[in-house]
């Protein structure tokens, strides 16, 4: 069941992407449309490590190093982009981050070391379900802990009211940058895992439409809800594939169906599936006892 396994694997990668974007968009309230850029940075640097510099150690250690390489380089890109851009607000920030992610993609197209427009081939196949989902768990734990820490409270206060937060003495710029850089870093980590699962990277796979799709996952699940992002990532990865199973005619129209479902879902639950709340399994049992 290679197909199902890989779909699960991709879902895991998109969970990391969605949860990390949620830290920026949902929890810190900074409207970023450039996640595909960080994803690409992580994917290409992680893959470049394992193609050109892999150490003679077992694969999973190399994968670990490559993930760290992806994390650090994407976080670094996050600093470069975040420090100037995070002075902007709302839609202006969105368009600036979108611009940067397109610039990243254009640079990759012109970078022959990583294949340029011909694509980056021969990346070793090191990702597997175990490591991807280990990273999913690590990502969720780290981000959930950030939210519940003092820093997290400061980050949330920026979303709720930036001016009020600032007047309460919170160094808003510092915390915005922190959230942005961590979010970017995890996107890079997901990129590295993605590179080693796909074994082939092409700049066309990181267009701004992917930033939009990751954003959709976050919003569909509910901005600010980590469980929401997870569910959003699962739905939007599985849905287009599921639509393949309804015969050729539907398959031709599956993107139309997909967009219609998206609109209907948004109309039915504008706050996303979970709103700002977390899915709480305990509350289900409590209710079923009643």
């Amino acid at each position: 069941m290679d197909y199902i396994a890989h779909l699960t694997l991709n879902t895991g990668i998109f969970i990391i992407l969605a949860v990390s974007l949620n830290l920026i968009n949902g929890i810190c309230g900074q409207f970023s449309l450039g996640h595909a850029g960080f994803w690409a940075v992580g994917a290409y640097t992680g893959a470049a490590y394992s193609v050109y510099m892999a150490l003679p150690v077992p694969d999973f250690i190399n994968l670990f190093i490559s993930c760290i390489v992806g994390f650090i380089s994407a976080a670094f890109a996050g600093v470069i982009i975040g420090v100037p851009c995070l002075r902007l607000r709302g839609d202006y920030l969105a368009i600036a981050t979108l611009g940067f992610s397109e610039i990243i993609r254009i640079v990759i197209v012109n970078l022959d070391v990583v294949g340029g427009a011909r694509g980056f081939t021969n990346i070793p196949n090191w990702s597997n379900l175990f490591w991807v989902y280990s990273w999913v768990v690590i990502t969720i734990i780290i981000i959930a802990n950030i939210i519940n820490s003092t820093h997290g409270r400061a980050i949330i206060s920026i979303r709720e009211d930036e001016i009020a937060a600032e007047s309460m003495g919170i160094h808003t710029f510092k915390y915005k940058t922190l959230a942005f850089v961590i979010g970017a870093g995890f996107a890079g980590l997901a990129g590295s895992l993605f590179a080693h699962a796909q074994q082939f990277l092409h700049p066309n796979g990181f267009t701004f439409l992917w930033s939009v799709i990751i954003l959709l996952m976050v919003i569909l699940g509910g901005l600010g809800s980590i469980t929401g992002s997870i569910i959003g990532a699962i739905i939007l990865t599985v849905l287009p594939e599921l639509l393949r199973f309804f015969g050729e005619t539907i398959s031709q129209w599956r993107m139309v169906v997909y967009s219609l479902l998206l609109i209907i879902l948004m109309l039915a639950r504008p706050g996303g599936i979970f709103g700002k709340h977390e899915l709480d399994i305990k509350s289900w049992f409590r209710r079923s006892k009643l």
Binding site: Y3, G119, Q198, F245, M255
Partner: protein
Amino acid sequence: MNSSFIKIIKNILIYLGIISLTVSNAYSNKSKPTIDVGAVFAMTGPTATFGQESISGIKLALKTINKEGIAGRKIRLILEDNKGEPLESANAVRKLIDMDKVSVVLGAVASSNTLAGAPIAQKAKVPLLTPSSTNPKVTMMGDYISRACFTDDFQGVVMAKFAKETLKKSRAAIIVDNANDYSKGLAKVFRQKFQEFGGTIVSKDDFAYQQKDVDFRSILRRVKRKKPDVIFVPGYYTEVGLILKQAHQMRFNVPFLGGDGWDSPKLQQLAGKEAITGHYLSSHFSPDDSSPKVQNFVKEFKKEYNERPGAMAALGYDATFILANALKNAKNLSREEIKVAINNTKNFSAITGNITINKNRNAVKSAVVLKTTPAGNVFVQKVDP
């Protein structure tokens, strides 16, 4: 969390369960009366025009093949859309191999899509035959990957030689589609070979545009300043048509050369009557070819789709016949034997020439040079490998 919400979740879970049951039922059917062939093409998305054209060719071929069938069994085509994206291509190939248990995969057009699917097919040991991906890297992915067309290298050589020796031109400019591996590959070979043959390339870097661009006036102006006497534009007809038109408006009257990406009746429509005359392209076949095989194909295609076939349609058509031929010759219909049969294709007479699959699993066949006219492309010369 209110109870109505739980109800919704429960309902969703039940529906998902029903769907997965029906799906698994539909796909667990082991004894197949048909030979299942998967196809991965861009049916939607920015490059859908090439995918849709290829599929027209494939479906036309299947119509003929299925009249007789392969040893009494019909070929069933399972078409998957990849939106022109690498990730979706990989997903589609996996789905075809894993869920549909296809014997062979056909596809895709863009090399970036095929390269994403190839490692999967190779690992699963399912033969993958691409009709039109010309990037040399594609077939290096392994012995299960082969192609029904020539590679970028061959076309680049053909056009460089044609420009220097037949047209007797000495100063060439290259305009390349920067995000397109096909275009860049051809440009690289042309630059190298044209210089080897004694010509000059007017600029160190290629002039570049990007797929989906519509305004080329400023690039063309810059090219004109360099005073080339021939221009190589290895792009797709969607942009080349506009380049020709705008060059004509600018009274930039030198011959333009290109590759098989030009070969579509749409090129004539996009460029317009005045701008189309007197340019050259290399391609896989000429619709004017008097051989009954080609004429029959052109006639059938027109009857079915009310259009002249372009190169993508011809390649899709040929790939399907190469496959059918291999299925007939294979010892049995295991994937292993089909692969051997495809790779053993020798001197197979097809629309785009006599095809032999060589040891690198690339098709070896002749290319034709065509001249553009308002009524369609006309044959100029044939170049053997």
